[in-house]
Symmetry: C2
Subunit: 585 residues, 2 copies
């Protein structure tokens, strides 16, 4: 690495250039640049003093690692960050030898790095290992588990505690205070060094050298400023955590051009406000994502009825269970992919005790730009196997509110999920209809085949029905609405009427909605064919979400073509006279 | 509660009697008495000073709460603890109003109690809330997440830190040291009181009063001795964590009468030793269960090749991923139910990066006495949806070693699971056969129906085939061995040959092995009926495991009867001439 041939005096120039490049690229393409602006000097210092990639530098999450990407040959790529042909927004071993360990979810770096320390000892590789963890990620339980184990082993693990006082929002907990941070790490058996100003290379370089020279497990407390060097982000790092393209001079954000329907996130926040207005038992919980979940919007209306617990999904769920056990109706708003962190708590603390906790999973389905660590494509499968839990997905904003009301009113453990991005823009009902648990809705009646959608794929199913109608195939369309309990009566009646079922879901093709339908039909109508359309059994990269659905063949055209071929193996290429199916209210 | 009408001077007598009763009952029926012997005075003090059940006393795990059960009307019940007609070995809200929150998995008490503190504030109930957490459970990340949130909120949560220096095995980490404990809790924003001798009521009572009087979140450090008052357990608390019935005078354990085949756990340990002898890359990881997983046996052979990370499943998995990323072949031995804690890490840190980590899930299926918190009946479902992950289950000890070797040799993410209790007792092969990934085995050939078993249900399927043969039905029996990837070729060939498939699994009937077979058959042979036998969609209580399988109708007799009725709806009651099916090697 050319960096390591420079004199120390030249490094601040490198850092300045790097920062300037990050601001330039950020202004052009947007992204998570504020975190990375805070770690510029740290990144330079670590790569200067370590022999990466032989030495192992393990980042956490990845939002702080754009500078790392730039220094390790990916500066040009940053212009295409998170695009299908550009680098990931996080760390990926496949992307660079310098990405020692993949990242995306918070709090993994210390665990992985400790494993690498032990691997280096056993293989005799001589690699030094440094984990970087932010004070936000350090609120995650797994980082504590790892630090406790590291202190216990006393292995030469080196941790950089990158303290900018922020998670995405201001951080939960007091580890930014020097005395607290020292006591925390020392209590777990790590030597504590610092704090040091993370933007002063003259102080930072010797501090990192001391860290590397520490005999056992040690942590260096580095204070950094999120958004450093870009005044608007320094002034409002919460707003600037992630950004769309902006004017460098003024910081004014360029219009993103996504007018039209409000997002599912906003629709959820508004629906939750209305539900909470009717029911004083309702409180809301986020795991360090007040903005991403819409709960900052809810908090403006009900500032005392929302909890930010930190990046702590396990606690979020069991805390909710405690609230519910003593009379409240908590709503846990957690992205689909992050609720994976609390799978056991959903089973053990909520469902087993039949407690009235509502889980609201945003970012269900493919999420596009954030890629494989962030897609929410396993949730139907891991949730529907849990006894007592209701699992649902709304097809539009009215159903979202109807399901949320059903969840809170029912007093049952309840999960509902919706995708990232714009909702449907449907006109909101002044009195949203109650949506009885376990009841779907027949939207269109046809005699040849039934198309079963759930949530985002209900409009997809409607579109498929139209495409099929053009080819003379009359399709029923059913909004299942509930993955659990399924509307068995409606599904079986539709199966009897059509003889063929096709399920479509923005979820893994294994174990999800389609499998639930299949299980039902196998039991009740065993010779009725069911064809499942879901995502293939592999991780999906980052990229454009619509292109991803096309590539995985769960877009309307692909499913329509497949259905034709399935129904008419010999003749599917032959168009028939167009007929219209009656639409069913 | 009568206890609260006593004078303080009488409480030590109450404690002595309670301890004596616990030892008496423990000697008669066995169980987790050592932990509860350490909390006798604490239990008396808390119930004396709190107004339970109006005030909320939240225990963690439950192994320390036998005294609590005895004091709250369940002393008589303890003689039947963990039996179908007796109390749970853990805490259950359904069992007593004094069980404020259910328990079983470690580290949940602080989260739940904090929720109750907030619920009390909002509902104005005036309830005081005390969480008890052991130093073992405090190694769990979720307890840290909860403490951090509690310190941040500053709510009047009261925590008793029950420090006996032990998890089940000696504890990981240094929080037993006074200075470290003080620094740890203070760093998270809690007031620290203590330490106090947990067996000296004269010191303990005022200390608990101080805790209750603390204005905000506070913790009282109580030192206790596991096994207190029973000399053999004091001397060897690890051995006595759980016990079978014993002689009170001598501590000699009564013969448990379960001679015969060694346990699956021992078979795994022995197999792992042999695999590790051949491959120096193999290291083993346990999350505070060296005995339960068999790794204490492995550690005798390879003391430097095993890690106990504490009750820290999330870290265990990502630590393993770090080891694997840099050249080792870690084997993570975690009970099926506890791996639920690390679902996200299996997805995000292991499978996504295709790292060669082997997960060995003991206690798959129903576990009997430990009940709903400990059954391992969701694992096929939550693991098989993860891309890249291989999921398997051995039918006997040789296959266990063959699968373990396949896992380590393959370099793929790999999970294998087996049940609690005795293995089959099969003669061990000197050179266990390699078991190619994705290949099942046809064990018996018949033309009427195919019975597909996996792991523990393979012998069940063989028995069913015999019962069917007595009724003139010729059944094939197939050991699927791999839930993922399925042996599609063999399963489809068998389906074609028989026309009817029956799957049997000691796992939830939703989303598991049967569903995987169903998905395959629906895709490839859509009109072939498949009948799934798994556990019903509810939590199964504690009790005798064989009775439980009978009650859930996945014992041989029930499945055979169901299969007959399914194949011959009209005539299934009519016996046919007995014929023997040829056995297939």
């Amino acid at each position: 690495m050319a960096l390591r041939r420079l004199a120390r005096a030249q490094l601040s120039e490198v850092a300045d250039e790097l920062r300037s490049e990050l601001i330039r690229v950020g202004s052009e393409v947007g992204g998570h640049f504020a975190g990375s602006l805070g770690t510029v000097e740290l990144t330079v210092a670590l790569h200067y003093l370590l022999d990466t990639p032989r030495d192992r530098l393990v980042w956490d999450v990845g939002h702080q690692a754009y500078g790392h990407k730039a220094l390790t040959g990916r500066l040009g790529g940053l212009m295409k960050i998170k695009k299908a042909d550009g680098p990931s927004g996080f760390l990926r071993r496949e992307e660079s030898a310098y990405d020692a360990f993949g990242a995306g979810h918070a709090g993994t770096s210390v665990s992985a790095a400790l494993g690498m320390v032990e691997a280096a000892r056993r293989t005799g590789s001589g690699a030094r290992v440094v984990a970087i963890i932010g004070d936000g990620a350090a609120t995650s339980g797994m980082s504590y588990e790892a630090l406790n184990h590291a202190g216990h082993l006393g292995s030469p693990l080196r941790v950089v505690f990158n303290d900018n006082g922020m998670s995405i929002a201001p951080n939960v907990g007091g580890l930014s205070k020097t005395r607290r941070a020292r006591h925390y790490f020392e209590s777990l058996g790590l030597a504590y060094l610092g704090p040091v100003d993370g933007h002063d290379l003259d102080a930072l370089l010797p501090a990192v050298e001391s860290l590397l020279a520490a005999p056992g497990a040690a942590v260096l407390h580095v204070r950094t400023q999120k958004g450093r060097g870009f005044a608007p982000a320094e002034a409002d790092p919460y707003k600037w955590h992630a950004t769309t393209p902006f004017e460098r001079a003024t910081g004014s954000v360029k219009a993103s051009g996504n007018g039209g329907a409000p997002s599912w996130t906003h629709a959820f926040a508004d629906a939750l406000i209305r539900v909470a207005e009717r029911d004083p038992r309702v409180v809301a919980i986020t795991a360090a994502m007040p903005d991403g979940t819409g709960l900052d919007r809810f908090a403006k209306r009900f500032p005392d009825r929302v909890y930010d617990v930190g990046i702590a999904e396990q606690h979020a769920v069991t805390f909710a269970a405690g609230l519910a056990a003593d009379g409240l109706r908590p709503v846990c708003a957690i992205y689909s992919t992050f609720l994976q962190r609390a799978f056991d708590q959903v089973v053990h603390d909520v469902a087993l005790q039949k407690l009235p906790v509502t889980f609201v999973l945003d970012r269900g389905g493919l999420v596009g730009a954030d890629g494989p660590t962030h897609h929410g494509v396993l949730d139907f499968a891991y949730l529907r196997i849990i006894p007592h839990l209701v699992v649902a997905a709304p097809r539009d904003e009215n159903d979202l509110e109807g399901l949320l009301a059903a969840a809170v009113d029912s007093g049952r453990p309840f999960a509902l999920r919706f995708p990232r991005g714009a909702a449907t823009g449907v006109t909101l009902l002044s009195e949203p209809k109650a949506l009885p648990i376990g009841r779907g809705e027949l939207l269109r009646r046809g005699s040849d085949v039934a198309l079963l959608g759930i949530g985002r794929t209900v409009p997809v199913a409607m579109k498929i029905a139209e495409l099929l109608a053009e080819r003379g195939v009359r399709a029923s369309v059913l909004d299942a609405r509930y993955v659990k309990p399924l509307d068995a009566e409606l599904i079986l009646a539709t199966a009897r009427a059509t003889g063929h079922l096709v399920t479509i879901e923005d979820h893994a093709g294994l174990g999800g909605f389609g499998s639930a339908v299949l299980e039902l039909v196998a039991r009740e109508l065993p010779r009725t064919p069911v064809r499942i359309h879901g995502l293939p059994d592999r991780f999906t990269d980052h990229g454009d979400v619509n292109a991803q659905y096309r590539a995985t063949a769960i877009d309307p055209e692909s499913v329509a073509a497949d259905t034709l071929a399935w129904l008419r193996p010999a003749a599917h290429a032959r168009p028939r006279e167009r007929e219209e199916s009656p639409r069913v209210a």
